[in-house]
Amino acid sequence: MANLTLTASPALGGIELEIGQNRIAERSDLAIVSIATPLGGKDILAKTLNTGWSLTMPDPIMSTVEGNTRAIRTSPDQILLIFPHGTPDANATVQKKLNGTGYTTDQTDAWVILEISGPDTLKALERLCLLDTATFEIGQSARTMMEHMGALIIRLEDDRFMLMSASSSAGSFLHAVETSYNYVS
């Protein structure tokens, strides 16, 4: 059985698409770990984030970034850390640095991450997202829904956004994003 080592396959196989001058790409290089704040442990967790990652605690609608690591608030007492990580031990690495100051759950496999960019991006988002994405600041984040699927959106640059949705419906999510670009007129 020695040859049966399991190989990972990303939800969309690491797809990259071009629609006109726009691009949709799956980010399969990122790990996601959620950190829940223990009751009464907000300040200690904020401090650990700072010492461990040099990150400030994200506020409800604004993610924070340091180096390759981004922190997004998903609930009043929960954040996501997103960072490049190849092996399935992201949870352990975060836990180690947290040293018990937050409850972690590996969410890498729960989500599909798409990075979308290009000149039609805001127009595509008008058809996909009920939030006012045109006025999002760089780094602004929101948890919302797109075509009946729960989604997370973060503005990375003027014409570049990161979209996250459930990995089991990754195909439907990609289809929704792709259709939105195709329908821009």
């Binding site: 409800p60 609608i61 608030r73 998903t74 609930s75 009043p76 009920l130 939030l131 929101a142 948890r143 919302t144 829904m145 729960g150």
Partner: protein, 94 residues
């Protein structure tokens, strides 16, 4: 319909699910409550024409339960609070 989320700002009601009367916060302790107390809690709701405190859940959002004070006659939303804060203020703890 728009709900002005206390942490996130105005969000479309499509992101929420509604449960109803915020009296559901006041669940009696099953070990001490009488059957009548528990029955009233589970089944009896006010249905006022006018201001109504309702529980809404930001399911397609930050998963907060909210207490929304809404006028059922005009649909005006007069106040939105985190249900957790309201619950604590109204004496709920562990």
């Amino acid at each position: 319909m728009i709900i002005n989320h206390p942490l996130l700002g105005p969000r479309d009601a499509a992101e929420f699910t509604v449960l109803g009367d915020a009296s559901l916060l006041h669940r009696p302790d099953g070990m001490t409550a009488t059957m009548d107390d528990m029955h009233d809690y589970a089944y009896l709701r006010d249905n006022p024409a006018g201001l109504h405190r309702e529980l809404w859940y930001h399911e397609q959002g930050d998963r907060s339960w909210l207490v929304v004070t809404r006028n059922t006659l005009t649909h005006d939303v007069e106040n939105v609070e985190l249900a957790r804060d309201v619950a604590r203020t109204e004496g709920r703890s562990k």
